[in-house]
């Protein structure tokens, strides 16, 4: 338990550095560090599936983010937005934190999942019968691809959509007029 708290504190420190540092590249590296800490935390929380996925996703995120920022000058745009926005945000974040702490005062204690607290939850059925009903020994896989298959379908659609969107945004030329403009430029 204390290990978890240490990990979370480290994550928070990493997040603060990532947001406050002026150099964009070190900020990205810090986010990567936070991601790897989360991966370790998942491992301790009994979620090896998530640990692996988080790890590889983090690697890929880093590659993409570094690709986006490397070779660009002017990457170290620092500083905050105007004072008014800052005060509003700080107030908002404070309210969020206070209300949240109050909420978690009434929250069930850590380490008591829903199937321990309630009689009839689907999670208990997944654990007790999931391996037998689906034939998968990994209950998380059984859930993702068996019970909640349309979630996985939705993810495929989201990934498909976002990559198509990225292709569409990075295409050139975007409009028919631009083709003509390019041709004119070439002719000159």
């Amino acid at each position: 338990m204390s290990l978890l708290i240490i990990l979370l504190v480290l994550m928070i420190i990493g997040a603060i550095i990532a947001i406050e540092t002026t150099n964009l590249l070190s900020s990205i590296v810090c986010v990567g560090a936070v991601g790897f800490l989360i991966s370790i935390a998942f491992l301790f929380l009994g979620a090896p599936d998530l640990a692996i996925t988080q790890l590889v996703v983090e690697v890929l995120c880093l590659i993409i983010l570094i690709r986006a920022t490397i070779n660009r000058d002017l990457t170290s745009v620092a500083g905050d937005r105007e004072f008014f926005g800052l005060t509003v945000t700080v107030a908002m974040v404070l309210v969020f934190a206070i209300v949240g702490v109050k909420v978690f005062g009434e929250f069930p204690l850590l380490g008591q999942p829903v199937m321990d607290r309630m009689a009839d939850t689907p999670s208990a059925v997944y654990l007790a019968q999931g391996t037998e009903q689906t034939g998968a020994k990994n209950v998380v896989t059984a859930l993702m691809l068996g019970y909640r298959n349309y979630d996985a379908l939705g993810q495929v659609a989201i990934l498909f959509c976002s990559v198509l969107g990225a292709l569409a945004i990075l295409r050139r030329p975007a409009r028919k007029e631009e083709i003509e403009k390019d041709q004119e430029a070439d002719a000159v």
């Binding site: 978890l4 708290i5 979370l8 504190v9 994550m11 928070i12 997040a15 990532a18 947001i19 964009l24 900020s27 986010v31 991601g35 935390a41 929380l45 009994g46 979620a47 998530l50 996703v57 890929l60 995120c61 690709r67 660009r72 002017l74 990457t75 745009v77 620092a78 937005r81 926005g85 509003v88 945000t89 974040v93 969020f96 934190a97 949240g100 978690f104 850590l110 380490g111 008591q112 999942p113 689907p122 999670s123 997944y126 654990l127 007790a128 019968q129 391996t131 020994k137 209950v139 998380v140 859930l143 993702m144 979630d151 939705g154 993810q155 989201i158 990934l159 990559v163 945004i169 990075l170």
Partner: protein, 115 residues
């Protein structure tokens, strides 16, 4: 306590989204918000001393049901991670294109739209 730390992580991300000028920093702050939520979800499904919800050799379903952590939040987090990845790809594409158009990552200099 642990939940509150997750909330702090989310709040830091929220602060970054609203206050920072650099659009890549905003994308990073969004990623931090999602991290906080993912950890929160997994914590909700955690059982003290619980094992992973995988049936190992020599284990019966009953022992699994008595010992394993809640698998449902893990499936949700798996989905959430992939959604974040898709979001990140799209946002980075928009950032690159914005850089091409404006020559900067500074959001305060992108002021064509007002109101």
């Amino acid at each position: 306590m642990v939940y509150a730390l997750c909330l702090v992580l989310i709040a830091i991300g929220l602060y970054g989204v609203v206050v920072k000028k650099n659009i890549v920093k905003i994308v990073i702050s969004m990623a931090i918000i999602e991290y906080g939520i993912n950890v929160l979800l997994v914590l909700i499904g955690y059982r003290s001393g619980g094992c992973a919800p995988i049936l190992k050799q020599g284990m019966t379903a009953a022992t699994l049901a008595a010992n394993a952590v809640d698998p449902l939040p893990q499936a949700l987090v798996m989905t959430a991670i992939m959604i974040n990845l898709g979001m990140l790809i799209l946002m980075v594409a928009i950032c690159i294109r914005l850089y091409e158009r404006y020559g900067t990552f500074d959001i305060t200099e992108m002021r064509r739209l007002k109101g």
